[in-house]
C-alpha cells in the first residue's frame, strides 16, 4: 500500500519533508517512527489524514501521516 509521510520542523533534518512510500499491509505509525528513527521524546502530535491519531494506530492504503514535534509555550 502507498502511504504519504510528512515530517515537520526538526524531524526533517537529515530525513525529508514529504515522501510517498510503498509498504506491505499491517503497518502502524510506530513502524514509521522506528523506520525513520524519530526521537520519541520529541514526538508531540501524529495526524492521519488530518485527524489526531496514536502511534499504535494502523495505516491504510492512501493515508497521509504527519509527524510533528511537541510544542511548548513561551
Amino acid at each position: 500500500m502507498k502511504v504519504t509521510i510528512k515530517l515537520i520542523g526538526p524531524f526533517r533534518i537529515g530525513r525529508f519533508k514529504e515522501e510517498v512510500r510503498e509498504y506491505p499491509s499491517a503497518l502502524s505509525v510506530r513502524d514509521l517512527i522506528e523506520e525513520f528513527r524519530i526521537p520519541v521524546n520529541l514526538l508531540g502530535i501524529v495526524l492521519i489524514n488530518g485527524i489526531h491519531a496514536r502511534v499504535d494506530d494502523q495505516l491504510n492504503d492512501g493515508d497521509t501521516v504527519i509527524l510533528l514535534p511537541f510544542i511548548d509555550g513561551g
Binding site: 526538526p10 526533517r12 502530535i45 485527524i51 510533528l68 510544542i71 509555550g73 513561551g74
Partner: protein, 623 residues
C-alpha cells in the same frame, strides 16, 4: 527563609520569610520575619503575593495603596535547575474589568536577579506609596542581614532597560538588576511597561540579552512608584549539588519535559520557535491580527528560512542546561557571528512579526529589540498594534494614528518608538481601551483586558479562565492542537483541574520548562524540597496549594468587578469562524456556552467565601 519544621503543611508558621516593607514616601523601612499562613506562603511567588493583594481593595492601579510586591519562590536561587524566577505583583494598570477596576496580576521572569535577591537574605519586598523623586533601590547583603536603601536615580532617567543595567553595573560589582525602560517611566501613557531582568550573559558580553517580567504592566506600576531600578548585590550562594537534586536536574535536561526544548544540535526541537512549524500545519499561526489566511506566509519566519541569512546561537539562562534561547545575530560574509539582534521566542516573534504582517526576520528582530529596550510587554504591544492595523485596513479612508498598515515596517517602527516614549497612549494603554475608544471591540484580541499570546483563540477557549494572561496561567493552549481534544468533558477537566496547575511554577521559583507537561506536582519537586530544605511535602499537598492559589486569583477577579460574561473570547472568533484553521471548531456559541456552564458548576462552590478571611476595611485613594 527560616525553616524550623519538616512539615510546612501542618505547621506553616514554623516557616518564616524575610520581608522588607518600604514606604517610598517617607523612606521608612520595616524588616521582619513573617510566619507563613499556609503552604502558598511557604512556596512564595504569586501564591503569597495574592494573599497580600486580597487584603486590599484597590479601585485605581495608580494609587498609593496599591503595593508593588517583589518576591521569589522557595526554589529561586537553589541548586534546582531553572530556579531563577522573580515575581512582580500588584493591581494592574492594564488588565481591568468592564467596571473599570484593576485586576490583581503577577508577572515573572528569569535572569540572575532573582537568585541574587534571594542571596541577599531577603524573600520579599513590598513597596508602599510613591517616591517623590526617581530612585533606584539597592538591596545588599551585609553581615547584619539584608539592607535596603533608596538612592537618587536622575542619572537613569530616559535610559533604556539595558543602558540602565550597564550604568549600574559600573557601580555595583557582583550585582544583578531589574530595570524599567522609558515606557515604564511614562506610566501615565504606557500601561504595558515591563520589568527587565539582567542575565549573566548580558553583563559579561554587554549585549542586551535581558529577560522580562512583561505581563500586566508591572513595569508601569514600578514607574508610577518612581522606582527606575532594583539592584541586588550579594555573594553567590549556590549550594553544592546533592545526589537527589543532581538526579532531578539530569531528568530536567534529558527527560520528557525539557528535552524537547533543547537546541536542535542536541537533538531537541530548538526552543519555543518550533511552535511555528507545528501550528502552521493547522494554519493556526496568527497572521494579520489573528486571522490566518490558509497560506504559507508564516513559513517565512520558520527557523530553516531565517538561518539562511542569520546566525542563530543556542544559549541558556545561567546554570540552566535546557538552552532554549535562540539568539539571532548578523551573519558576516565569512559566516561568523556579527551583532546581536534579538532573541527569537515564539510569542514576540509572531506578535511583532507575522501577526502584524512582518515576514522579514531582520525587521521582526528590530521590532523585538526596540520593544525590549523601551521596556514594554511584547505580547501586549504586538496585539495592540495588530488591532490598530486591522482597524486601518477596515477604514482605509479614515485610518488611525500614522495610518500604518499590515507589513508597513517603517510606520510600525515609528509606532513602537513613540509608544515606548509615552507619546502614543492609544497604543500604550492596550487593545481593550483602544478598541473601546474606536467603538469596534469584536476584533480586539484580549481577554479580560489582557492581550492574548500567539495561540489562536479558536484553539484555546481556556483563555477565558487564565488569571494572569493567556497561556502562562492556563495551560490549555495545547489541548486541541497537541492532544486533539475537542469534547466538552476534556475541556472542563483541563480548565478546572489539570491545566490550571501550570500556575504552580509561578509560586515555587521554577521556570515552566522544568517540566511543562506535568507542572510542579511531581516527585521531582518533592525530592528537591526534601533535599534543599529537609521538608516533606507530598504531590497532593502541592496540587491542593496550587489549586487554592488559582482559585484565589479567580475570586479576586470577581471582587474587582469582573462578571461571568467577561470570561469569554473576542467576539470575532464566535461571530466569524475562521475556516482556514484546520482543527475542529470548539469556539461556537453553543460550545462556549456549555463550557462556561460546566466550568462554573465546578468553580462556583469553591469560590464561595474564599475572600472573607482577607477582607479588611481599607479604602483606596485616587491618585
Amino acid at each position: 527563609m527560616k525553616i524550623l519544621t519538616s512539615n510546612p503543611v501542618s505547621d506553616p508558621a514554623s516557616v518564616m520569610y524575610r520581608r522588607c516593607t518600604v514606604d517610598l514616601k517617607s523612606g521608612k523601612m520595616r524588616l521582619e520575619d513573617v510566619p507563613c499562613r499556609n503552604l502558598e506562603d511557604v512556596l512564595g511567588g504569586f501564591g503569597r503575593s495574592f494573599q497580600v493583594l486580597a487584603e486590599r481593595k484597590i479601585s485605581h492601579a495608580y494609587c498609593d495603596e496599591n503595593p508593588l510586591i517583589v518576591n521569589t519562590g522557595l526554589l529561586t536561587g537553589s541548586s534546582a535547575m531553572t530556579g531563577m524566577r522573580t515575581y512582580f505583583s500588584g493591581y494592574s494598570p492594564l488588565k481591568e474589568s468592564k467596571k473599570g477596576l484593576p485586576a490583581a496580576i503577577w508577572s515573572t521572569g528569569s535572569g540572575n536577579f532573582g537568585a541574587k535577591f534571594k542571596w541577599t537574605g531577603l524573600d520579599e519586598l513590598i513597596f508602599e506609596n510613591r517616591s517623590e523623586k526617581p530612585v533606584y533601590v539597592l538591596i545588599r547583603e551585609t553581615p547584619d542581614g539584608p539592607k535596603v536603601e533608596l538612592k537618587p536615580a536622575e542619572q537613569l532617567l530616559g535610559l533604556s532597560t539595558h543602558e540602565k543595567m550597564m550604568l549600574l553595573q559600573k557601580e555595583y560589582n557582583g550585582a544583578h538588576f531589574a530595570t524599567i525602560g522609558p515606557a515604564g517611566e511614562q506610566w501615565e501613557n504606557v500601561y504595558m511597561g515591563a520589568v527587565a531582568l539582567s542575565t549573566d550573559n548580558q553583563l559579561k558580553s554587554g549585549e542586551d540579552k535581558m529577560r522580562f517580567a512583561g505581563r500586566g504592566g508591572m513595569g508601569s506600576l514600578m514607574g508610577y512608584k518612581n522606582i527606575l531600578a532594583l539592584v541586588a548585590q550579594s555573594s553567590d550562594k549556590i549550594k553544592p549539588l546533592t545526589p537527589e537534586v543532581q538526579k532531578v536536574n539530569i531528568n530536567v535536561v534529558k527527560g520528557g519535559g525539557s528535552g524537547r526544548l533543547q537546541p536542535i544540535s542536541r537533538g531537541g526541537g530548538g526552543g519555543t520557535w518550533a511552535a511555528y512549524d507545528v501550528l502552521q500545519v493547522f494554519h493556526a499561526v496568527p497572521v494579520n491580527n489573528f486571522r490566518p489566511q490558509g497560506n504559507d506566509l508564516p513559513e517565512k519566519l520558520f527557523r530553516e528560512n531565517v538561518e539562511k541569512e542569520y546566525l542563530i546561537k543556542s544559549q541558556a539562562c545561567y546554570r540552566c542546561g535546557i538552552t532554549c534561547h535562540n539568539n539571532i545575530h548578523e551573519k558576516l560574509e565569512d559566516g561568523t557571528s556579527g551583532a546581536f539582534l534579538a532573541k527569537f521566542d515564539y510569542e514576540p516573534l509572531n506578535l511583532l512579526g507575522t501577526n502584524i504582517g512582518i515576514h522579514d526576520a531582520g525587521q521582526a528582530a528590530r521590532l523585538i529589540h526596540l520593544c525590549d529596550n523601551y521596556g514594554m510587554d511584547s505580547i501586549s504591544l504586538g496585539v495592540t498594534i495588530s488591532y490598530l492595523l486591522s482597524y486601518n485596513e477596515r477604514h482605509p479612508e479614515n485610518p488611525l494614528l500614522n495610518g500604518a498598515h499590515f507589513g508597513d515596517f517603517e510606520k510600525i517602527t515609528e509606532l513602537v518608538k513613540q509608544a515606548g516614549l509615552g507619546n502614543l497612549p492609544d497604543i500604550g494603554r492596550g487593545s481593550k481601551r483602544l478598541s473601546e475608544n474606536c467603538g469596534e471591540t469584536s476584533y480586539a484580541y484580549h481577554v479580560k483586558g489582557l492581550e492574548l499570546p500567539a495561540y489562536q483563540p479558536e484553539t484555546n477557549p481556556g483563555y477565558a479562565w487564565a488569571i494572569a494572561g493567556g497561556h502562562m496561567s492556563m495551560g490549555t493552549y495545547g489541548l486541541l492542537t497537541r492532544e486533539g481534544k475537542s469534547d466538552i468533558d476534556s475541556w472542563v477537566e483541563g480548565i478546572t483541574r489539570t491545566k490550571l496547575q501550570i500556575v504552580g511554577f509561578d509560586m515555587i521559583g521554577l521556570c515552566k520548562f522544568f517540566d511543562i507537561t506535568k507542572g510542579i506536582c511531581t516527585q521531582m519537586v518533592v525530592d528537591c524540597l526534601r533535599s534543599e530544605f529537609n521538608i516533606d511535602v507530598t504531590i497532593e499537598d502541592l496540587a491542593a496549594s496550587v489549586r487554592r492559589a488559582f482559585l484565589l486569583g479567580l475570586a479576586l477577579e470577581f471582587r474587582q468587578g469582573y462578571e461571568k460574561s467577561e470570561f469569554t473570547l473576542p467576539a470575532e472568533v464566535r461571530e466569524h469562524p475562521n475556516l482556514n484553521i484546520k482543527l475542529p471548531n470548539i469556539t461556537s456559541p453553543e460550545f462556549i456556552s456549555e463550557l462556561q456552564k460546566k466550568v462554573w458548576e465546578i468553580f462556583d462552590p469553591e469560590l464561595e467565601g474564599l475572600l472573607s478571611k482577607y477582607e479588611q476595611p481599607t479604602v483606596a485613594r485616587e491618585p
